[in-house]
Subunit: 223 residues, 2 copies
Amino acid sequence: MSTLAQNKADLERASTAQKVADMLRERVLLGELEPGLRLSEEAIGGALGVSRNTLREAFRLLTRDRILVHEHSRGVFVRRPTADDVRDLYAARRVIECGALRLWNAVGDAQREAVRAPVRQAVARAEKNDFSKTGSANIQFHRGIVGLAGSARLSDESDRLLAELMLAFRVAHEVEAFHQTYLPWNRKIVELLNDGTVEQAVQQLDEYFDAAEQDLASRLLAD
Amino acid sequence: MSTLAQNKADLERASTAQKVADMLRERVLLGELEPGLRLSEEAIGGALGVSRNTLREAFRLLTRDRILVHEHSRGVFVRRPTADDVRDLYAARRVIECGALRLWNAVGDAQREAVRAPVRQAVARAEKNDFSKTGSANIQFHRGIVGLAGSARLSDESDRLLAELMLAFRVAHEVEAFHQTYLPWNRKIVELLNDGTVEQAVQQLDEYFDAAEQDLASRLLAD
DNA sequence: ATTGTTGGATTGTTGAACGATTCTACGATA
DNA sequence: TATCGTAGAATCGTTCAACAATCCAACAAT
C-alpha cells in the first residue's frame, strides 16, 4: 500500500475542476441530483465557490462520461437515459462481459477471486437478511468479470456504462430492489465457472442481460 | 439522408472548444503534432485565435479521449503510448471485436456488408498495386466488426482505442507499411465468415491481434 | 389557438490579472 | 568535475468582469 507508485497518486493532486467533477458525479449517482435536472452554472458555481470557467471544465468531464448532457446555449442537464439508451448499454455490456468471461481459464486466480468474492459476500449477507450492500456487491461482481480482460481501458469504459445504467435505474424508480433480484443468477454463474463449464456460464450471463434489459426497458417505456 | 433528425445535427453546431478539439485531434492523428510534444496554451491559443479558457476546455476533451495527457502544472502533451499501453489496448480490442464478431449470424445483412466491403475494396485496389487507402480500409474493417454489436457507445470507445493505436504506430514509425501486412488476414476472416464458420473466424481474428500486438510492442520496446 | 414581439436570464467566449508551480541557468560548495 | 541550491523567467491554475449570442417566458396581435 505504501509503494512509490501509490504515493505518486497523492502528489498528483486533482485539479479543482477534477474535484468538482468528482463531487458532482457522486451527487448525481447518489440521486441527490435527479436525471433531467438542469445544472445552472451560476447556482452550482456559487454554491461550490468555484468560478464559471472551472465549473465548465468540470461539466465537460462529466459530459464525456455521459453523466451529464450538454445542449448548446441551453446548459447542462443530468442525463436521463431512454429505453434506446438502455438497449445500447446492454448491447455493449453483453459484448464486453461475455467476452471477458470467456477468458476465465486464461487468467490468474486473483482475478477469478475478484469475481467470486462479491457473490460470496452477497450470499452471506442475504442469509442474514442483510440486503444493505447487495447493490454494490452486484456491481463488484460485474467489475470483476470485466477485470478478467486485464485492460484498464476496458474497465474504465465498463464503469462508465455501469454509472449510466445507475441513472437508468433511477429514472425507472428501481434503485434498491433491482440488484437483489439477480443474486441467484450471479450465484449460478459462479457455480458454472467453478465447475469448469465456462461456455455455460457465458450463456447464463447472456440470459441475465436479456432479463435485466427487458425489465429495465419496460419500466422506462411505462414512464 | 434528409430526415429531420439528420438536420438536427447540423443545427447543433459545435462550440468553439469542440471545433478546436476536432482540429487538434486531426492534426495529431495526421502526425503533424508528434507524440510527446507539449502543447503550450499560449502558443496554440494564439495561433488559433481562441482564449486560454476555451482552449483548456478543448484540451480536457482530448485528454478524456486519450489523445492528450495532462500533467498538473506542466501542461498537456500529445500522448506517447508505451508497450504497456499497447498491451492494454489489444486486450480491450480482443474482447470487443471477438465478442462482436460472434454476433455475425444474429445481425442483418447491412451490418455484415460493412465488414465485407472494406476488405473487398482493399483487395481490388491491391490487385492494381494501389495501396493508397489500405490503412483506412483496414480501420473500416474493424469498425464494421464492432458495428455488429449495434452499440453506439461500444463503437465510440472502439474509435478511441483505434485512434490511440494510431499514435502507437506513429511512435513505432510504422504508419504506412503496417496495415498492408494484415490484409491477407482480413481476407481470410471474411472467407471464414462467408463459409458460416464463425468460431473459426473469431479464432483467426484473435491470432491477428496476437501478431499485431507482438509486432507493435516489439517495435515500441526497441525505441 | 397560433403566431410575433420583447425583455430578462443564461450561456459562450474573451481578456486581464495574480498566486502557484515548474523549468532553466548560473553559481556555490565539496 | 559533479552535485546542490537558488533566483528569475516562463507557464499553468484559477478567478473575475465584461459583452455578445442565444434561449425562454410572458404578453400582445392576428
